[in-house]
Amino acid sequence: MAGQSSAVESRTGNNLFLRGVAALSTFAGWCSAAMIVAAVAITCQMIFVRFVLNQSTIWQTEAVIYLAIGSTLIGLPYVQRLRGHVNVDLIPLALPKTARYYMCILTLSLSIAMVAVLLFYGYEHWHLTYERNWKSDTVWGVRLWIPYLALPVGFGLFLLQLIADLVAVILKIDKPFGLEDV
């Protein structure tokens, strides 16, 4: 459950695959945080340029939007690793141990299928923008494949982390839904 003070990570044990994915997700988390910090800095720069220097601000708004989108998509795997995606765990809590285990396998598999779909179409969409060299319809005219790259990369890493979570539950390294036995 998302709480400020708790940052319970999913467990990796000594499993190399799990640890590798965890490291990747953590790195993605750093990138995500860095993009938001950059967005803060650019927005402040934009206010300065406009209010103090009274000059044009052509690229800032767009850059900041793409950084925020990038931060969100690239941050997905890390937040998954921190169990930060809110869920309703009323039923899982009420289920007996075995049923909870199978419920967890089911929901993780569904999540994996969903993110795989997003990854597939996200890649296609990115590839199209790259191939046709589409640009944003502004003076800055960003080549859109750059911000859209966050789609395949973010969903790809997210998919990996979800698979790792499934593996950890099946190998009994982590508890279903991260719930401790009561």
Binding site: Q55, S56, T57, W134, D137, T138
Partner: protein, 305 residues
């Protein structure tokens, strides 16, 4: 059979009325064809409509064609300063070889035009009137469209980008000194409460934006002859209505601003020529550099009397 039409406007907007006329006309023809309208961005966001349209995932849309300028740079010519002088000139452009050339480019994206139409707009100033290029120097300005930003920057204005819904509060708090957008947006966002002076589209106007009703070409070709005929008939009727209403919009916006006690300024022919000379060095130049057959298209547009 059902067709889906998406647009970004409210159901009192002229562009919705155009879509509704086509939908009603087709329904009356009783050719087993129904058009469902999804307004106010309830299906796709404004700038997200062109791609689904070209992929056949959306059947029809009413949108400023320049929104797709990032995919087809030639479309940027449909929002170029000083290219269109007035509404009748706009109608002649729509029927010219220039538009045919653009329609060929749309056909590459599997898109066709059902209803042609241009809407005009003007300028507002928070403290003073904006008629000639020297009036915008040093002002924080929000412009509608890439080419206008380039021209205004060339006149020494500072350009800032924000959505049209933010213009009101930005002018109120003083972040913005001037703005340029369509006559109807000025009215619907109640900009007259924040402006000291309004320069509307009158005998001459700088800002014209091409906002056609588009359809996916394959979807159209897949209809039977009766359905196609009904669509074309309804579209022709809507196009005539669109032109007449577009003219009325400008006058109506002037009335609203006048009633609110806002000064109304007029752009003279000399002002217009000064802006166009500036545009030639800035936005036209940038366009020609960006688009391989840009000069040719520009010449075709300029050739329309």
């Amino acid at each position: 059979e059902e067709l889906r039409l998406s647009h970004q406007w409210s159901n009192t907007d002229i562009r919705h009325q155009v879509a509704q006329m086509v939908a009603d006309g087709v329904a009356e023809a009783d050719v087993d064809l129904e058009i469902s309208i999804f307004g106010t961005q309830s299906l796709f966001k404004a700038r997200e409509q062109y791609r689904p349209l070209s992929r056949g995932l959306l059947d029809m849309t009413v949108l400023p064609l320049s929104y797709a300028g990032g995919q087809q740079p030639a479309f940027n010519l449909t929002l170029m300063p000083g290219l269109v002088k007035n509404h009748d000139h706009a109608a002649r452009l729509s029927a010219s070889p220039f538009m045919e050339a653009l329609e060929e480019k749309m056909a590459d994206d599997d898109v066709m035009v059902l209803v042609h139409g241009y809407l005009a707009g003007g300028f507002v100033g928070k403290d003073a009137c904006i008629t000639s290029p020297s009036d915008v120097e040093g002002l924080q300005t929000r412009a509608a469209g890439k080419a206008f930003e380039q021209m205004l920057a060339g006149a020494g204005a500072s350009i800032t980008s924000m959505s049209s819904s933010e213009i009101y509060s930005a002018m109120q708090t003083g972040i913005l000194n001037a703005a340029n957008t369509s006559s109807s947006s000025f009215v619907s966002y109640r900009i007259y409460e924040q402006a000291a002076c309004y320069t509307p589209a009158a005998d001459v106007a700088l800002w014209f934006m091409y906002q056609p009703l588009l359809m996916n070409k394959s979807t159209f070709d897949g209809l039977n002859e009766d359905q196609q005929a009904a669509l074309m008939a309804a579209a022709a009727e809507a196009e005539a209505f669109y032109l007449e209403e577009a003219k009325k919009q400008d006058a109506a916006s002037v009335a609203v601003f006048e009633e609110a006690g806002v000064e109304i300024a007029e752009m003279t022919i000399e002002d217009f020529e000064a802006w166009r000379a500036l545009a030639q060095e800035t936005s036209y130049q940038a366009f020609v550099e960006e688009v391989p057959d840009g000069q040719e298209l520009l010449d075709m547009a300029l050739a329309v009397e």
